[in-house]
Amino acid sequence: MRREVRRLPVILFLLAAFVVHCALAGDMAIRGARPDIALTSLLVCCLFVDSSTGAALGFLVGLLEASYADQFVGSIIVSRTLTGMLLGALEERVFRDNVFMAIAAAVLGTVATETLFFLFAPQPHALRWFIRTGEASLYNGALSIPIYLVARRVAFRRT
């Protein structure tokens, strides 16, 4: 049995995740740690696609996030594109139909994305930056479980 990726539902899923992120992520902060729902959804979806599709999905999410950040636009888009590509490149190298892989992808993917972003656009207060990245990666890791369960149903068809 293998999974066939339905691209349009994946794109709609990521768009919906971005809208949810914009509207609700600010209210979901726990002791200063804030999730990135759009990024987590991207990382989970990229587990099921190849590197080029991962890059394209990363570009889409990067563009959406950059449009709301309105600063460091190129760095945000390229960091998401590269992370999407890297996760997509794991295709056929790891067993991905597993919720633990989604957690690992969300945690490590968040760290990778933020590290890439930091390299492209170094920020002041680096220590606080890395603490925040650590908090966000753990939060995203926890969030990846429900996102994985929804994404698997919505976006992928067993054939």
């Binding site: 768009l15 971005f18 809208v19 949810v20 992120h21 914009c22 509207a23 609700l24 992520a25 600010g26 209210d27 902060a29 200063g32 804030r34 999730p35 990135d36 190849d50 590197s51 080029s52 599709t53 890059a55 394209a56 990363g58 570009f59 990067g62 563009l63 959406l64 996030e65 950059a66 449009s67 709301y68 950040a69 309105d70 600063q71 460091f72 636009v73 190129g74 760095s75 945000i76 888009i77 390229v78 594109t81 590269l82 590509m85 933020e114 972003f117 920020q123 002041p124 207060h125 606080r128 930056w129 925040r132 990245t133 966000a136």
Partner: protein, 278 residues
Amino acid sequence: MLRREREFNRRKLFVILLCIGLGVGIGLWHNRQVARGRSDFVTSTVRTVSTPFVTALDATSRWFGSHFGWLIHGRSLAAENRQLRDENARLRAENARLAEADITSQRLRAQLGFQGQPPANKIAADILSLRPNGNFETMVINRGARDGVHNNSVVVSPKGIVGHVYGVGPTTADVQLITDSAAAVGAMVQRPQSRAQGVCKGNGGPLLTMAYVDGAADVKAGDVIISSGMGGAAGVFPKGLPVGTVVRVANDASGSTKRVTVRPTVDMDRLEEVYVLP
């Protein structure tokens, strides 16, 4: 077979390079437009299209929060209600005293030939997205150029300064919160015996650092900090708006300046609506 695989890989590589190239291109285009004082067509279009969906979800979540929030916050709401009643009574008394002081102040200013302060024309705005990118202390509000908002417009809440506008679209605007690591506000101690001046800088966390405070200045924990209306980029904030309260004061190694830690009067995590001073 091998040829087809090679062509497939080439196509993959093309898509990846195209995405990266487009990302870099959009970033450069955005920077160029911002430098010219224009809004970037690509990102503003994406935002204009997505804004109605974000607004609808935000409104739905607020509706649920206002109608069913008591289920979660019931006990704390009763205590908060009591506290607010006490505070309201105290503020009413203070307001009456300040109204009298204001009349006297205006009369004296008129006698001395000072110009009156321009009337505060506030534009109420809802928050579309608080910290859309977790790495920056920013937010997006549902008012833009069409409503009279422009770059460097000051954003306040009833409690004090929230931040300033750094990007404007037709119907939305980006606000940099004073807690952002790139934000700075010219500030001073409100206490008449002190009036020490400095610059309150954000660091991405919940507290601010007031820098460039003279080592001999009289600053104590509990002092109220207000905007001084001074400074370059920080000068966008008019004088007299509440910034925060001093929580800690320390001298630097040389003793020539003080390092003052300030808690903002506005809790950025609990912001619901704000006002723009155009």
